[in-house]
Symmetry: C2
Subunit: 452 residues, 2 copies
């Protein structure tokens, strides 16, 4: 069986088979990169004129940076998918008359795009209008409804294979029925919001999304090479590659680093990946070029939904969640503030010191006796596990401690740090987590599941 769907051509009497959809998809993805690269700088004044800008609080000059550029990336990504959809079905078109067009495969693409388009719309509306928290929770749920319906009509497999450990108790597998749909719906809500709360320094949202996207692509390729469900993984590749193309263009203008060409920045990325100490030396003396555009909630929602979509329709939603380890940790760490057990300021991003150009962790202040019992319990647990650094006031009641995000926690470990280096540390952490995820997924899976 060929690894990718191929079209067979007759060239000079020879039958040649080519993976046409994949080649077209790669070409469209490269096109998406170049479209973004040329479009983003042109759109900057338009966004500034429309009052869509934010102040970069982590810079001494406090520059105006155009915001919500995720909508540009999102539109490029959508248009790429629109142009690509007909391609994998080209050879089926002759079959239309006979009535055996694969509508079930086709509807997967359309539903995926519908969910992604909805999230771009919601994200952009959020950037422009500043929606309330609860809208951010129930709108992704509604947006994932068609996705779940497609899952129901096309697969409706709600059986979870159980790890070997619990099999004596619960058997080989467990049909969790409607709970599986609840899980998938929550996955969409989680993915869209998890990236959004691990943000606030130049380039971080885009970097983490690119790493997750790269991991998904790597996972798809590995699975296709192993011959597992290659249809589903091919579907995922067809969506992820244009996403990566469009996002790389955004990264070019959103990252904070030494100004380099694209080739050099790829080398830079590789160096970051291997923790090159040389790079740190270079960046210490070279001039720093911060973000030229902010991505906005639009990008975070778009990315989260894209990952949820391929996870759900590609049947690897649990593996997608494995690539979200830093986001899961950040979410769990943030829970006391997200649920207002501990007072949460409007922004929890690090605090910039203009004198040294270094970032310090941001703080929240509260009186322990004013917390509710659950809040006091969280505070005590976090304090004893040294997950937060607390300073007690003279009266012994008012506590000042860092805000509960892994970005602040990172500064707590390193001390005041430059923004680009903080970003690099978090990127390296994400890469390590992804490596760990692959270890769980492949070598370690033998211990828990029957694999071959």
């Amino acid at each position: 069986m060929p690894l990718f769907h191929r079209f067979v051509f007759d060239v000079l009497g020879q039958s040649v088979s080519l993976p046409v959809p994949l080649l077209v998809n790669v070409a469209i993805s490269v096109g998406a990169y170049y479209a973004g690269r040329s479009l983003i700088p042109k759109m900057k004044p338009i966004f500034i004129n429309a009052n869509l800008y934010g102040i970069d609080m982590n810079k001494t000059s406090k520059p105006k940076i155009p915001e919500a550029f995720g909508v540009v990336t999102g539109c490029i990504f959508l248009v790429s998918l629109f142009l690509f959809i007909p391609v994998p079905f080209l050879r089926n078109f002759s079959a239309t008359i006979k009535g055996d067009f694969p509508h079930d495969k086709f509807v997967e693409f359309i539903a995926a795009m519908l969910s992604i388009c909805c999230m771009i719309l919601l994200g952009f509306a959020d950037d422009v209008l500043n929606l309330r928290w609860r809208d951010k929770l129930y709108l992704p749920t509604v947006a994932s409804l068609p996705l779940l319906m497609v899952y129901y009509t096309n697969f409706n497999s709600t059986t979870v294979i159980l790890p070997k450990l619990v099999r004596p108790l619960l058997g080989q597998s467990l049909d969790i029925g409607v709970l599986y749909y609840v899980f998938m719906g929550m996955l969409a809500v989680f993915c869209t919001n998890a990236i959004n709360i691990l943000a606030g320094i130049n380039g971080l949202e885009v970097c983490q999304s690119l790493i997750i996207a790269g991991s998904i692509v790597l996972f798809n390729v590995l699975e296709i090479l192993h011959g597992h469900f290659s249809d589903a993984h091919e579907f995922s590749l067809y969506i992820m590659l244009p996403y990566i193309g469009a996002t790389l263009a955004l990264w070019r203008y959103n990252r904070y680093c030494i100004s380099l060409g694209f080739l050099n920045s790829a080398i830079l990325a590789a160096r970051v990946a291997i923790l090159s100490s040389q790079l740190s030396r270079v960046s210490r003396c070279a001039p720093a070029y911060p973000s030229q555009v902010f991505v906005g909630d639009t990008f975070n929602y778009l990315s989260g939904m894209t990952f949820a979509v391929v996870g759900i329709l590609g049947h690897f939603s649990k593996t997608v969640l494995l690539f979200f380890i830093p986001q899961v940790l950040n979410f769990v760490y943030s829970v006391p503030q997200l649920f207002r057990l501990i007072p949460c300021p409007r922004h929890r991003m690090p605090k910039h010191d203009p004198a040294t150009d270094l970032l310090h962790f941001s703080r929240t202040q509260f009186r322990v006796d004013e917390l509710n019992p659950l809040g006091r319990f969280c505070y005590q647990v976090f304090r004893h596990l040294r997950l937060i650094r607390c300073e007690m006031d003279a009266d012994g009641k008012t506590v000042t401690c860092n805000n509960f995000t892994i970005i602040n926690f990172c500064i707590l470990l390193t001390g005041p740090i430059r923004e680009d280096r903080l970003n690099r540390m978090l990127v390296v952490f994400q890469l390590l987590c992804v490596a760990f995820a692959f270890t769980i997924r492949y070598p370690l899976a033998h211990y828990f599941y029957d694999t071959n």
Copy 2:
């Protein structure tokens, strides 16, 4: 054959059949109306805070009115459709296991929503960012791509039945092939932009859209009663009813008239329809309540795409075009300015006279000898047909004439006029055109086509 799809229930041993999808759809549509009615006032300060407002140029006080409320209506409409989709397929769900789920019908809904969602996104981006003209032309084309693919895979009928007159020349019918797809793609672009250029006075966009939507619903019901392609017309109804529900709520806050409750405003609409002279008398003395919100391009794009979607997937795209007569006339009348043959100012809406609170037609000024030959030809034709009112300067070269929209043409016929009465005149014109369209579609069709 029942007129609507019905579900059969067993009640006390009796078999009862009910058109469940239709009933649920009506309930959701009523819900959409009430959701909009309660949500729109709450969103007003949010839009103002986000700098999304326009100045109502046709009022003496020049109030700040929150803009782009089409996005609220659009989201309510989308959520209604999301909630409705599973309903018509409920009885098919048991068939999933057997593999005969009607994916082809399902994909129609999803593709329809995708195109509508894309247009809401584009419209909102346009309202916020003020996109260029060409974006407004090629983005709807791209957004209609999945729609055309669904048409191709589900129907692919590109044969046009010819009128009796030309049959001796061209035969019974003509397969226009790919041109049919070009026509449908252009229909989407036309519908989205045609409503947008017939706008500029309080309530006009919403009124015309409601009349077109009502006409489509009436047409669907007539066709279903005649037993023609009832599946397609049922599909159209399921989309149009929630649209009307969501839009009525918007109309409540966008119209310019005497303040009345909902019941009274329905009576008002009926009176407008019958050209009640009594109403004019009432409105002359009662205080006027102008638009509280502006609908923005978002609403116009959303409406246009919704009509195009039901026209294309319901196989009645030519009939939809019949309901667009005023928009077609306005477009044809506008062509010299749209294609810059005659200089076109940024806004062509009527000019308000604060002293009398009346609207005058707005003007454009140009030198005849500076027009290109085609422009000069248009100018001469329009002037001789008395479609424009021109004033020549003392030097005999500089011409001042009204802008080329039917709104200005209407004022040209009536003289300076109050905004609400102008709106009413245009609404009556649209109603007359719709009546004419039904005359063409039904009684007159006998002369051109074989009907039974």
